[in-house]
Symmetry: C2
Subunit: 213 residues, 2 copies
DNA sequence: TTTAAAAAAGGACATTTGTCTCGATTAAAT
DNA sequence: ATTTAATCGAGACAAATGTCCTTTTTTAAA
């Protein structure tokens, strides 16, 4: 669920160090700031150096669907550069984010001239297809409780904490359903509650856990 | 829903004509034949020259999820070649299929040496990400009826006919739900029934339509 | 054409999920 | 510390979906 690509990041780090004249800058985004807006035209791609962002589609019915959480080394805006389209998703910083900003012409010439970069990009796109497909299948065919459990465990493993709203949007469900399933999981004891407290920063969780003892 | 990539196909057609010595063959698959099995190791990629295939994931709970229907010019097995993994999906011929068979080494060397090919591949992967993401979002956030309606219209536009089982698997629902929504759509008159008859070859459809008049 | 077997459709009920709302909990202000 | 405002959780009901099983329709055989 939190995608990263450290190989890609090292490449860019190195490339910047070796090509100081290149037209690459670093930008900082405050937590919550939406640095890419769905439907807009952009002229840069971004590579996350630090922090976590969420990439999400806002549907016309007002609902959001989180495509992925993006961490170190993840690229954003490359589809738009390759296919010359307006932004497919919104991208917002979840915590403070630092990202490389690379203008489209430089990005496209890198693809044209640097084989290593192209290979890395092909790898990145492949991974994305695999993850998106696998996840779509999983979420359509399994019960919510199962999907949520998997999500919670992933979160515990990766030591990150994500708001309930965002988790619900990631699962494509309402917060009400999220709460319901969460409670079921805790009641059944399918998820170790000590892990739980560190992972989810839920105000009422302590009380909930007390009551359930 | 039926993906095609005619540019890609022309490239391969041309490449084959110009490089007769190259290690590329044409294979035919009968309707229904599953030419790629999830979890298996493969050493070729396939490019569909003619016919329609379905690419689907079989989950452990016995359910299938159709990722996409693939038509002319679509590639299969390239993710496996790029990431050196076993097959992510099953791929089965829906009608008779003819496909180019390209060994992994040749595929990888094309990426390495032929810029045009690499560009086409990047375009193909990008399109796939866009479509998979858009669809996942759509199917999670809209009602089934809405998704089904969209699917039926697409099918009518592209003049193809797909079995109910496959459509249900594509939507990630049971055939029962599919039937239910279908009836609703017909009753409400949201879908032009004349289009309908040509698209869906459903045994009972004529009667259904009679009764509903 | 009639009958038997196979396949598809739909009814009934259970389960899941969403919406709306109200009560409880937390945070903020004084 | 007390009051007020804002946020969050969950009950109640409605809508959607799945499962199981019966009925209907189609196909195949005699």
């Amino acid at each position: 669920m939190l995608r990263t690509n450290l190989t890609f990041l090292s490449f860019i780090d190195r490339f910047c160090a070796e090509n100081e004249e290149a037209d690459i800058t670093l930008k900082n985004f405050k937590a919550g700031y939406r640095f890419i807006e769905q439907g807009e035209k952009i002229s840069n791609i971004y590579i996350i150096k630090d922090g976590i962002s969420k990439c999400f589609i806002s549907e016309e019915n007002g609902k959001d669907f989180i495509i992925e959480f993006l961490g170190k080394g993840e690229v954003v805006g490359e589809l738009e550069a390759l296919k010359k389209i307006t932004c497919l998703c919104n991208v917002a910083a979840i915590n403070d984010v630092m990202a490389y900003v690379i203008p489209h012409p430089l990005f496209l010439s890198l693809i044209d001239k640097n084989n290593e970069f192209t290979t890395l990009l092909l790898q990145e796109l492949s991974t994305r297809i695999i993850q998106t497909s696998t996840r779509a299948s999983f979420q359509q065919l399994y019960t919510l409780e199962y999907a949520l459990l998997k999500l919670l465990k992933l979160q515990a493993d990766e030591h990150i904490s994500i708001s309930k709203e965002d988790m619900a949007a990631y699962l494509g469900i309402s917060v009400r359903s999220f709460n319901r399933s969460l409670k079921q999981i805790v009641i059944k004891g399918d998820f170790d509650t000590s892990e739980f407290k560190n992972t989810l920063q839920l105000a009422n969780m302590k009380k909930l856990l007390e009551r359930l003892k």
